[in-house]
């Protein structure tokens, strides 16, 4: 199942290693949106995400000469991003301000979102918005490690095997963390459903 594949970024990586800064710029452009989603859903803060992303790419640029291609660049840069974000969260502790309450305007054009809200009354729409807010709160109640797994699996759509490589844990650990995180999220959202006004 896990067949060796050629890294699509191999050429850009080699050029960067040879000193071509423009090649690294291409990698930055390619991976910024994806890494933004990963870091943002773990930190829940735009400013922190921006600073962390800058640091992540700076670190990757310094370390890329030592990158030997044992994993794909995708896995490598995601490992850097997850580890730096986890370290940041451990340092930050609980002193954060939730800034992911508002669903961005671009979500309004999403088919899935439109389906979810098309048949809804204004009351139900308000419920959905509240549900999103509650979901974000529930996410922040998870431990950093569980949040990382939920973010990568549910939000980024990564397979278990890829997550296990990035986090350097077994696939079994990934699955158990995911199971535990889902239970926690369900419990929290069930409370909201039973007591919608809080």
């Amino acid at each position: 199942m896990d067949q060796p594949r050629t890294d699509p970024d191999q050429e850009l990586v080699k050029r960067t290693q040879a000193g071509d800064a423009a090649a690294f710029d291409e990698l930055v452009i390619k991976y910024t949106p994806r890494l933004y989603g990963l870091v943002y859903n773990m930190t829940s803060n735009h400013e922190d995400t921006n600073d962390l992303l800058q640091d992540i790419f700076a670190k990757a640029y310094k370390a890329i000469r030592g990158f030997q291609g044992k994993s794909s660049f995708y896995t490598w840069i995601h490992s850097i991003a997850v580890n730096m974000t986890l370290n940041f969260l451990k340092k930050r502790g609980r002193r954060f301000q939730l800034s992911l309450d508002d669903v961005d305007a671009s979500i309004q054009n999403d088919r899935e979102f439109m389906e979810a809200t098309a048949t809804s009354s204004p009351v139900r729409e308000a419920d959905l918005s509240e549900l999103q807010r509650r979901l974000n709160e529930a996410m922040m109640k998870l431990s950093e490690d569980h949040r990382a797994v939920v973010t990568m699996f549910h939000i980024q759509g990564m397979p278990h095997a890829e997550i296990s490589k990035i986090l350097r844990v077994s696939e079994g650990t990934v699955r158990s963390r995911l199971f535990y995180a889902n239970r926690q999220l369900q419990n929290y959202l069930d409370e909201f459903r039973k007591n919608p006004v809080s």
């Binding site: 859903n41 995400t49 700076a58």
Partner: protein, 163 residues
């Protein structure tokens, strides 16, 4: 549906993919990245820049082939130290200086008396006999700075004539 199941949770979480940064963020991100890189370079002390460049240079080389270099350098240094110690301890070749004129001895037969009427003396034979051999000297004075003894002996120390 009273309870959230895994599918519903997953569906709700997928919506979070659409949470995006402010418009223009990704366009400006690269410029911001370049600006921060320049700022960081300017803040760094020169020694650190040199160190980083040296580190980058070393990484660019095949590090595995370089792992034997420290051992080789250490071996060369040890050899050099041993050789220099040996050279220091080895005594220099003795240069013997003659401080007194060589003793001139004449072969004299036991029974003959010397007088003015005697025939002329045979040409003198130069004899230079060290009192102690070089090896004896070296053994005695190994630790001390090199000392030398005269290979020649004053005439008065020569064996006396027997008449």
């Amino acid at each position: 549906m009273d309870e959230f199941d895994d599918r519903e949770i997953a569906r709700l979480l997928r919506l979070k993919r659409y949470e995006q940064p402010p418009p223009g963020y990704f366009e400006n991100f690269l410029h911001e990245f370049h600006r921060r890189q320049r700022d960081e370079l300017l803040r760094q002390p020169i020694w650190r820049m040199c160190l980083e460049r040296a580190h980058a240079f070393m990484l660019g080389l095949d590090v595995r082939s370089l792992t034997s270099y420290p051992a080789a350098v250490a071996a060369v240094l040890v050899c050099a130290a041993v050789i220099s110690l040996k050279i220091y301890q080895q005594p220099e070749t003795a240069r013997v200086a003659l401080q007194s004129p060589p003793a001139i001895s004449t072969p004299v037969s036991a029974g003959e008396e010397w007088n003015l009427a005697s025939p002329p003396v045979a040409p003198p034979i130069l004899r230079m006999q060290p009192v102690r051999s070089f090896h004896e000297s070296a053994q005695t004075h190994r630790a001390a700075p090199p000392r030398y003894v005269l290979d020649s002996v004053p005439v008065s120390y020569e064996p006396t004539f027997r008449f």
